[in-house]
Amino acid sequence: MTRQRHPLVLVMAAILLEMFVIFAAPPALAEYADVVLNRVAEAAGMRPVIFPHWFHRIRFRCKVCHAELGFKMRAGANQIKMTDIIDGRFCGACHDGETAWSVENCDLCHSGKAGLPPGIFGGHETLGPGRW
């Protein structure tokens, strides 16, 4: 009896497997190349900053920030202080209330969950910058 399974069982198994293939949603993931900046933020009482590369690269070529504004390419190599930004350096070059929202909108950048480690997120990490 055990050798001959009812065909419905097989069909059910097939359907279950299909459901698994279709509906097994990937876990909630950051968008590729999202950067968490939290070297000084939380220590200074602010939430971590989430920087979405995808949003910015639609509007600016890499060299605008990474050559003109002086952001180093290597993850973790930039020590960005809020005072720099207020003085118009780094993010402050655009986030001045004209090109983009100004620094008074703290929560729009400092929007991360508490306790996030700094680094690049969004999957496809190698041992490299994504795991910095």
Partner: protein, 226 residues
Amino acid sequence: MNRCTAIMFVRLPCVPFTRFAKCLLVLMLVVARPSPADERIWAPIAKDGLRDPNGPAVKVLQQPADALTPLSPDTAGNQVRWVRALKEGQINPRASLRQPLVSEKYDKDVLLNLNGGMPVVRFPHSIHNEWLDCSNCHDHLFKKQRGASKISMFLILQGEQCGVCHGAVAFPLTECARCHSVKRTDAMAELEREEAAKALPSAAPLSPPAPTNERAPSPKKEGKGK
């Protein structure tokens, strides 16, 4: 799904365990079903695992799906073919903020990994130059002189050299064939043609003016990184 249901009613006369075979066939068809035109899914901002879903930002910020859906699809990274999107004018990112960067234009393709096991890498300066300034890579990541920097996949996978961007922002290192794209014989033939063109300077009027020291004549110098 019509194919699948139809199979269940087809008679397969001489196959033992016919029903089982049919079920298997259905299962295979279901798993290998043709994908719809665009099945890319981006997590909404509030569910990205990084932003506080109770904060004000998640109500204000643009959603990835809104911005990225119209762009050329890809299977990896942001699921966007960024270079194609740029070339086809789907995006028009600014090249400078205040003063335009004055940097030389250099469009030459470089063939790398000539002696390795994988197919030869074609590094297109032109595409990288669209996004980047020379100073982003030269000379701290790669020396300008051909063969002077030993490029190693081991370092790249650890986030050095190409891996500073590829694997973090640019298309990830899972896409081997996008860089390792040239058959060795084709690469060697191309290098030979270049050599021949260099021997007859009048025969190569189209090649961009390259500094003479940037292309060492011997391809053997560019090895696997040893």
